[in-house]
């Protein structure tokens, strides 16, 4: 792994990219089993499943970027795991993003 040291992987970013890769894989399998069909939602633009995934991801990034300067990332709870796992307020943004993503997949 020495040759990959310059990429500076961390567990967090590895999980992040793993989840995205997983989502892309799932979308590929779904596209093969049930070919994507365009539909027009509340944005009045035709979107496929992949388009909605992109809108959900991009929107989530902006939700985090807007949440962070407005509400900060203070610790709001400590989970009894190990020495106490601190939970940042930014996870609320992640929660909002999940709701947003669900809304995008449902209505856009």
């Amino acid at each position: 792994m020495e040759s990959l040291a310059w990429m500076a992987w961390t567990p967090a970013t590895l999980i992040f990219y793993g989840l995205i890769a997983l989502a892309l894989g799932t979308l590929t399998v779904m596209a093969i089993r049930h070919p994507e069909v365009e539909r027009v939602g509340i944005l009045r633009i035709p979107t496929t499943r992949g388009d909605r995934f992109f809108i959900a991801l991009l929107g989530s990034a902006f939700i985090h970027l807007i949440f962070l300067p407005l509400f900060g990332a203070d610790t709001i709870a400590t989970l009894p795991v190990g020495e106490g796992l601190e939970v940042s307020r930014l996870w609320l943004a992640s929660g909002i993003s999940l709701l947003y993503a669900a809304a995008v997949f449902r209505w856009v």
């Binding site: 040291a5 967090a12 970013t13 070919p35 633009i45 809108i55 991009l58 300067p69």
Partner: protein, 298 residues
């Protein structure tokens, strides 16, 4: 949808995909990794979580102040050059000859600035606008008697980089618009002449609607280019005087390579990239929508 779908054809995309992985995806992943860490070189990294993002998005910190300032300057720069180049380009296209040898002469002359590399454009203007030996700078300072010095005056510096960009890229809008104008059938103009339409009416009801698509592409290209412009202002003003022309890309390079703050620079790159991605998506969606509506309009 009677066409048979042959999914194995997707493997033909594989070479292009691999290329993109190596020159875009892997570097992008690395930047994301850098943005949550700090380093002093030697491939030693220290976890910083969302610290850089917090600092970057908080205007009261040094990094955040710089980021918002340069973002503001960059948006101002893009707005100014779009406001000048788009109307000017359309105007130039409208006044270009429609036939004869003059068309070719015009097209070649207009395409010339587009062929000049960025750093050369920067160097040309850097010398051209100098107050002591530059033709333009000398003329303004010593003949018109107006104090103009892009190394010390904020207004002069902005004027220089804006005029430079207008000189370099108005041709693009003009050429795109000219192509759009050429594609309007003569019948439209004949009908307008029969109706006794004024020049202005012809422009607003025939030419402008037909130019919508090329102008969208032009605005997208010019916005993207001006939002990530680096070389030209760097060569002419180097971001100065002070920080008055330090736009995002110049600031980014200062942080990444000047100060070697890879974490801060990476966080800034990610946010910069996200803004561009969002704008691109909006433009792309609008453009494809305009395309999709066209057959219905008849």
């Amino acid at each position: 949808m009677d066409k048979p779908l042959y999914h194995r054809a997707w493997f033909l995309v594989l070479p292009a995909f691999l290329l993109v992985v190596f020159n875009a995806v892997v570097p992008m992943m690395t930047v994301v990794n850098y943005s949550v860490q700090d380093t002093f070189g030697n491939n030693q990294f220290f976890w910083n979580g969302i610290g850089w993002y917090q600092e970057l998005l908080d205007p009261s910190t040094e990094l955040g102040g710089r980021f918002y300032d340069s973002l503001g300057r960059n948006l101002l720069f893009s707005a100014i050059i779009l406001a000048i180049e788009v109307p000017l380009g359309v105007l130039v296209a409208l006044s270009m000859p429609r036939a004869g040898w003059r068309v070719a002469a015009c097209l070649v002359l207009m395409a010339l600035p587009l062929l000049v590399p960025w750093n050369v454009v920067g160097t040309i203007w850097q010398i051209f606008a100098r107050e002591d030996i530059g033709l333009f700078g000398y003329f303004v300072n010593h003949i018109l008697g107006i104090t103009y010095n892009y190394t010390s005056g904020v207004f002069s510096a902005w004027f220089t980089i804006v005029v430079m960009d207008v000189w370099h890229w108005t041709s693009l809008i003009a050429l795109l618009s000219y192509a759009g104008l050429k594609s309007i059938p003569d019948a439209y103009y004949q009908a307008a002449a029969i109706d006794g339409a004024s020049r202005w009416a012809v422009f607003t009801t025939i030419q402008l609607p037909k130019l919508r698509r090329v102008l969208l592409i032009g605005v997208l290209l010019r916005f993207m280019d001006s939002f990530m412009i680096y070389t030209e202002p760097f060569v002419v003003t180097g971001g100065g005087p002070g920080n008055s022309t330090t736009i995002l890309s110049i600031d980014l390079v200062k942080i990444a390579l000047g100060q070697f703050d890879l974490g801060k620079a990476a966080a800034m790159s990610i946010v910069y990239n996200l803004i561009i991605l969002a704008v691109c998506w909006v433009f792309y969606t609008v453009m494809t929508q305009v395309d999709a509506q066209r057959p219905k309009e008849g």
